[in-house]
């Protein structure tokens, strides 16, 4: 499996290649525009959307402000209901806990529900190294896993693959993971989905251990919630004897009632449906229904660093709907892989550098992976002010003194001087207008050239505005 993001180039470099891939751009454009238009219609059905959004924001802010209290409450409720709670400070500890739990069952394979948290910690790779096969069961995750690929979208991880590629992956790879693809498999979505059904069903029926994340955890009742469409989630949550859920500490909500807000805003923001086909809710264990053993692994892995940042902590409100990806002009062109993280798009650009820090090239470049157009903020169902956090993180990166950013600071300083000296500004403008035939189409120098590689430079007017004004209006 090549599911790792370690050693990814910085965003501009990775995006540069993606932008040149016409097929990828066409796939992404079609997908993001389709989902965004549907979302707008689904949201328009609720005339109290603004109030729901504000309530969701405030519930999450209250949760984060008193996160310690709610986590302890959740732990008590889950334990009371027959579950066991574990705490993992980082990815290594979470992986170790899960591996030990699986080994204790004596099993060497697990079925998995699509989960960002387990991708974030690289659980599949860790389990594989420990001799445990982890089967992804979401159709898109299956495509990604069989294709030895990485997910490129939060909600539809194989959005970068077309049906022909998927058929080829199924034909070539299914056999080495279990039941092979049917003879003569075509590339119609229905036949491909049927092949996945047959391939995975044998795994579901024999599975003894399931691994999931969760969309929400209710502190008051100890209830976990998984929202999905295909039923693979239900299979993993109900058929095995042991269930292990790895969930970020920020996924808690205080009360049962709070779900009334998020179960209205999440499906409409995410898949643009009034409600997703399946939602599972479970509280500890239940006699004669579902797993006899339930473990909850509460994951920090950088979340408390984000929580300590008073501007950045709002990123922890995120309910992973992916609406911000679908409206983002940068994501639409660059695709998910360029972000070098399981969290792509605008939310990834603010979440990843906070979870991982800004010491690597890719993480330091992510706050700049945006045009700051603000569309992501407008669609966010929990009102995360992504542009505000981006600018805040840019300040942090610039303060830490990256190479490109010293250049930016020097440019801003020079601009400040010119703007403070009107005669210099006027002279510069006149010179620019007089020489405009000689202007290059691309800017020279590092940074500037990258900028003009993908953009047209604005045309300068024949004479500066202030000269025109003097002639015509004074």
């Amino acid at each position: 499996m090549s599911g790792t993001f370690v050693g990814m180039p910085s965003f501009p470099k990775a995006a540069h290649e993606a932008v040149g891939d016409a097929t990828l751009r066409a796939n992404l454009r079609h997908a993001t525009h389709t989902i965004r238009d549907k979302r707008a219609r689904a949201v328009a059905e609720l005339d109290d959307w603004a109030a729901l959004r504000e309530a969701g924001k405030r519930i999450k802010d209250d949760t984060l402000r008193h996160l310690g209290t709610y986590l302890v409450r959740l732990e008590e409720a889950v334990t009371r209901a027959g579950g066991t709670v574990h705490w993992a400070a980082d990815a290594a500890e979470a992986n170790r806990i899960v591996t030990d739990l699986v080994k204790a069952t004596g099993e060497t394979e697990v079925v998995k529900v699509k989960s960002m948290a387990t991708q974030e910690i690289g659980l599949n790779e860790h389990l594989e190294a420990e001799g445990i096969a982890a089967y992804e069961t979401d159709l898109a995750e299956l495509i990604v896993q069989l294709g030895e690929d990485r997910p490129s979208h939060i909600l539809v991880p194989a959005i970068h693959r077309n049906r022909g590629e998927i058929r080829d992956i199924f034909r070539e790879k299914m056999g080495s993971w279990g039941r092979p693809a049917p003879e003569g498999l075509s590339d119609t979505p229905a036949e491909l989905a049927e092949a996945a059904r047959l391939h995975l069903r044998e795994k579901f029926l024999r599975a003894k251990v399931g691994i999931s994340g969760a969309n929400f955890m209710v502190a008051e009742t100890g209830t976990l919630v998984v929202v999905e469409s295909e039923g693979n989630g239900r299979m993993c949550l109900t058929l095995p004897e042991t269930l292990i859920s790895v969930v970020g500490i920020e996924k808690v909500v205080p009360t049962w009632r709070d779900l009334e807000v998020f179960l209205q805003t999440l499906p409409r923001s995410s898949t643009a449906e009034r409600m997703n086909p399946y939602t599972s809710m479970w509280t500890g264990t239940t006699d004669d229904d579902g797993p006899r053993t339930f473990h909850l692994v509460l994951l920090d892995n950088g979340r408390t660093d984000a929580l300590a940042d008073e501007v950045g902590r709002q990123a922890l409100r995120c309910i992973r709907c992916s609406a911000c990806l679908n409206v983002c002009p940068v994501y639409e062109r660059a695709g998910g892989h360029a972000y070098g993280s399981v969290y792509p798009g605008p939310i990834g650009a603010i979440l990843t550098p906070q979870l991982r820090g800004t010491t690597s090239d890719i993480d330091a470049s992510l706050p700049y992976a945006s045009s700051l157009c603000g569309a992501c903020y407008d669609v966010c169902p929990v009102a995360i002010d992504i542009p505000e956090v981006l600018v805040h993180l840019r300040e942090r990166v610039a303060g830490e003194g990256g190479k490109g950013h010293r250049l930016e600071k020097a440019a801003m300083k020079a601009a400040g001087w010119v703007l403070d000296h009107p005669s210099a500004l006027a002279a510069g403008e006149r010179l620019a207008s007089a020489t405009r035939k000689l202007h290059p189409k691309r800017l020279p120098g590092p940074g500037a050239r990258q900028w003009s590689d993908h953009r047209d430079l604005p045309e300068l007017p024949a004479e500066p505005f202030r000269d025109w004004w003097k002639k015509n209006r004074t």
Binding site: E54, R65, A193
Partner: protein, 216 residues
Amino acid sequence: MTPQPSSRDRILARVRAAVADAPEAPAVARDYRTSHTADDPAGVLDLLHENLADYRAHVHRTTPDGLPALVARRLAERGARTVAVPPGLPAGWLAATDAVRRPDEPRLTPYELDGVDAVVTGCALAIAETGTIVLDGGPGQGRRALTLVPDLHVCVVRAPEQVVASVPLALPRLDPTLPLTWISGPSATSDIELDRVEGVHGPRTLEVILVAGGLT
């Protein structure tokens, strides 16, 4: 030597330190709507019907007297020769079908369930605005696997008492200590070029029967 603090204590200490100086969050405003639908049982039932159908459930309406024949017809038309029977399912609901009954007592194994064509259940309640039925494992519904593995799920909803307009009206009527499954249409995926396909892993077909008029 002092013992190492546990990860639990370290995480909680970090959480508390991170927000120690943060201002109190403003109180949560609940000024969103309790429901988006007029309080009219007939209208709410029509909306449920429409929204279930919009997400490709097959919706039928009948009276208590007509229910057994309708259940039998739905099973027959889908070619279901065996039907899983959850504990507590009213015996009369299956009175008219000649499908072979597979009671879930003792529990059917996953493999046995995979060999069953259909399942017939009641529900805990249904939500009109979202076209959702909710199962809580109560009598006549059974454990979660029963409505998951067979390819056809026939679900009976009693109107008006099991129908609510909205999500905010549904939650207070549900018991979070029970395992809950919310179902909005049959299993579906849009993972391949965003083309919607029904029936990946859960039932490919969901038949919902709305029964009005005093069913017990």
